[in-house]
Amino acid sequence: MKRFGAFEVETHSYKKNEKVLSETELDGSALDEESGLISKNGSAIGVMVDGKPFVGFPTPSRKNEFFSQTMIDWKWPEYAIPTYIKSHIHLDHLDQSKGEYVLVPTFRLPTLIHSRSGNAKWLTEISNRNPIWMHPDDAGRIGVKTGDLLKVNTDIGYFVDKVWVTQGMKPGVVACSHHIGRWRRQQDPEGNRWAVNTVSIENDGNGGWRMRTVRNVGPFESKDPDSKRIFWTDGGVHQNITHAVHPDPISGMHCWHQRVRLEKAGLRTITAIFSWTPTRPTKCIKNG
């Protein structure tokens, strides 16, 4: 393993549910004639199919469970069989006339890995901004074009990001990639400078928070001569920090999509940009 680093244990692995239980495995087991279930010491170990004792799947019936007694037992009988569940961002729950959209905030780029690749200069050189993808019809409705600033209002706050107008997005849906918008405060140690904006964070002590970028990504001195050659400045926008938690009552999954209200960035933000201060229009506010 030290020499080649890998070993192939099986070349193919198909139909393992059709593994026949051995005599030893069957020893002391009981067969339920009606269901075909083979049990041993109180738990199902296989199932009789076509007269053969197969290991099956690790479910109560040892088969694919189209019907789930588990869902009934846990008081979700409406989900006993495969169903369609309308999402929290279903169009029924959105008022498009008020500028409400669904934000898909999860898509990954081929070149980055979560917040772990800010230390890779080649990757950061390739991917260093995360604009909002928007269909031309929506951009027209809101009155923005590529590069304009958009205020994205979530359940608990907002962030401001640039727009990228593209036909590659379904109308009514906007998206913003994951990975980008890394930060440090001025007092924090330097790290991942290929990808990190310097920000100021204010806390009003009452659950309200505000983050502003005070310095963009830029060239820096280091033992690596490439660090002086950084030509990108964007650094992107941290969106997740403005998302509320959305637990799914069954799987416990955080439901990432956000119902957002989109509007052109307001006067204060515009002023901030055109005042040519180093302040970037990245703001995140969370209220209580």
């Binding site: 393993m1 030290k2 080649f4 680093g5 890998a6 070993f7 192939e8 244990v9 099986e10 193919h12 198909y14 139909k15 269901s35 799947f57 019936s61 088969k63 694919n64 469970e65 189209f66 007694q69 495969p82 169903t83 369609y84 569940i85 309308k86 999402s87 961002i89 990954r108 780029l109 081929p110 070149t111 917040s115 690749s117 230390n119 890779a120 080649w122 849906v173 440090r184 405060r185 140690p189 991942n192 280091s222 690596d224 997740n240 920090i241 509320a244 938690v245 959305h246 799914d248 009552p249 069954i250 799987s251 416990g252 999954m253 955080h254 439901c255 990432w256 999509h257 995140c284 969370k286």
Partner: protein, 638 residues
């Protein structure tokens, strides 16, 4: 072959006046070609890995030779753990570059951009090289260097005290990207803490639940390479779990004529390569899938033989339709009734995907039959309330077509993974931590960890010692400011230890920041369901292995790593011994060598035991000639 270069007049003049190096200095024998002119070789042959010679690109046009030791390891820049080979310069002892490992059964020598970029990460001028301890208030931004001994003793004493006072639930290890998952489960069990928290509920719990409720396995393993029709609710030609191993196999199938359908509101790179881009409105994927199911049922395109045997349809009829004869025909009839509203037109109204395209795709799926591979991991299942219904409805299509576990179909993950056997397995812990599994979410698949700071703020508990590893919730999780609030409070979190190779937004609110090795600086074990087959790969600290080959073996990985960078495996062994210095807590006995009674286990022994217990591996290794060439023949079969 004649390798003599003829120098141009300009080169000769430039050489004479010193503008370029002396081209005639090269007096050594030129390197042999590996192949005839006109042919290329992708990788150095394994018998040359111990001393691989190639020209130094930066010395061009001078032909100077560089000698390398080539050591394999695995990438850590996503979960796929593709193979890497480190080219270690024999002169400087440093890693010069990373390329693919042709002997890795999943990646087969191919890598995405993130693999070779590992070299950036190990040479990053900003990386953390020494243990750091906070000065002043937590989060204030002031740090001082401390010794590993000081950090280990301080942390161990806290944990020991908590365990002695039965505050076992206050010791927590929270991991973002796990590697060798079994390793930490074993450590935490030995401490008798219910201390494992994961990132899974911001990642894949939705998809996992949908699969699990069907067949008890929580992930799909599509056999894309042999499929006739591939259906993705993901962007697996460019990103996502195992995307590089998957992408090469998807393209392989497409080259053989397979069709690809992609359900995604965004024209991803994957959608752009598809035959059917189905830009569905987010959250309506299950409606599209059920419309496809209805067509398969109505048009008789389902696999009766498979379903009759391997679906619990009798239970369904008995429980949901008592009084109806328990016949397969009635099962089909009842399903047609259940799904009658899911017409292609209804699906179009919900999703925006054209009804005609849904019908076309459904018929293609029916035609592909058992050679129908599907995938959904995060995306729709992670984005939506009820997202778990998406993977559930997707697997429904595999069941209807009988493509579960077939050639070109979709297998359960566990069929294509190996579970290592450990030298020692501590008993299960006797504590249950409701900060991890709260009662309100009885079916939660993995810990709803994004609620953790909210639970702490509600006063549901506290943590005395909180390890974060490859984990940056302040940035990655929703509502990072609430994480900052919890991490700032010593009341809620007594001590926060960030195990990380580099600074991140969460480490700013730590008490200790302990530098851990990057991909090529630590051990790990990988076995993932990238395709039909089972493989195991070894992540190893490449400079440690190079030192061994060089006749100067080291005992601990940190001896070969830069600065004072440790690896987790050795950290947990050392910490466990310090928590239980006299063995009275019953912890230390789980960290004893299986080969040297009574001695502390080392990492080589830990993996040696696992490898000795992998079917076929010891035989393959024994059959290998001393130079190892036959081992690769044994392990390298497609």
């Amino acid at each position: 072959m004649n390798h003599k270069r003829h120098h141009t007049l300009i080169e000769q003049i430039a050489e004479k006046i010193g503008l370029i190096p002396n081209l005639h200095q090269e007096t050594e024998t030129p390197l042999d070609r590996l192949t005839e002119p006109g042919h290329l070789t992708n990788f150095p042959p394994p018998e040359k890995w111990d001393d691989w010679v190639e020209y130094e690109a930066k010395d061009w046009p001078r032909l100077s030779k560089k000698h390398y030791t080539i050591v394999p390891t695995t990438c850590f820049n996503c979960e796929a753990a593709c193979g890497l080979t480190a080219f270690i310069d024999k002169e400087t002892g440093q890693v010069r570059k990373f390329e693919g490992n042709p002997y890795h059964p999943a990646s087969r020598g191919r890598n995405c951009a993130k693999g070779p970029a590992t070299i950036n990460q190990i040479t990053d001028p900003d990386r953390i090289l020494y243990p750091m301890k906070r000065k002043g208030e937590r989060g204030e931004g002031q740090w001082e260097r401390v010794s590993w001994d000081e950090a280990l003793d301080d942390i161990a004493a806290r944990i020991r005290k908590a365990l002695l006072e039965k505050r076992n639930n206050e010791v927590v290890y929270h991991v973002g990207r796990p590697g060798h998952e079994g390793y930490m489960d074993r450590v935490l069990q030995s401490w008798n803490v219910d201390g494992h928290n994961s990132h899974t509920n911001i990642c894949s719990s939705g998809a996992r639940f949908g699969y699990s409720i069907w067949y008890g396995y929580d992930r799909p393993s599509p056999d894309h390479a042999n499929a006739d029709f591939i259906f993705l609710i993901s962007a697996h030609l460019e990103s996502g779990h195992y995307f590089n191993p998957h992408a090469q196999r998807i393209i392989e199938a497409k080259m053989k004529g397979a069709k690809l359908a992609v359900l995604d509101p965004r024209l991803s790179n994957t959608a752009s390569m598809s035959d059917y881009w189905m830009p569905s409105y987010p959250g309506t994927e299950a409606a599209v899938l059920l419309a496809i199911a209805k067509i398969l049922l109505d048009e008789g395109l389902y696999n009766r033989a498979y379903m009759e045997k391997w679906v619990n349809w009798q239970d369904y009829l008995k429980k949901m339709h008592p009084g109806v004869d328990v016949t397969f025909e009635n099962y089909i009839l009842k399903m047609q009734e259940e799904y009658q509203e899911f017409t292609p037109e209804f699906a179009e109204k919900e999703s925006g995907v054209k009804a005609t395209m849904i019908v076309d795709v459904a018929r293609q799926i029916g035609k592909a039959g058992e050679r129908f591979s599907t995938h959904n991991w995060r995306s729709a299942s992670s984005g939506n309330l009820g997202g778990w219904a998406v993977s559930r409805c997707l697997h429904f299509l595999n069941v209807l077509t009988g493509s579960v576990g077939t050639v070109g179909g979709t297998s359960p993950s566990a069929w294509n993974k190996i579970k290592p056997k450990f030298f020692d397995t501590p008993p299960a812990q006797t504590f249950w931590n409701e900060l991890h599994f709260p009662k309100e979410y009885p079916l939660a698949f993995f810990e709803p960890s994004f609620l953790l700071p909210h639970f702490l703020k509600e006063g549901r508990g506290r943590m005395e010692v909180y390890f974060t590893r490859v984990f940056n919730p302040v940035w990655t999780y929703p509502d990072g400011f609430t994480w900052i609030e919890a991490l700032s409070s010593e009341q809620m979190i007594g001590m926060h230890i960030a195990l990380t190779p580099t600074w991140n937004e969460t480490a700013f609110w730590a008490d200790y920041v302990l530098p851990m090795g990057l991909a090529s600086e630590r051990h790990d074990l990988n076995s993932y369901e990238t395709h039909s087959g089972v493989w195991i790969a070894f992540r190893q600290p490449v400079l440690r292995e190079a030192a061994r080959r060089n006749g100067k073996p080291v005992t601990f990985t940190y001896e070969a790593n830069p600065g004072e960078v440790w690896e987790e495996d050795e950290f947990w062994i050392e910490l466990s011994w310090r928590i239980d210095p006299d063995g009275s807590l019953g912890i230390r006995k789980h960290f004893l060598s299986p080969y040297r009674p009574g001695e502390k286990i080392n990492v080589d022994e830990y993996y040696q035991y696992i490898f000795e217990n992998i079917a076929g591996l010891p035989e393959a290794a024994r059959n290998a000639r001393p130079d190892g060439t036959r081992l690769h023949e044994a392990v390298w079969r497609f």
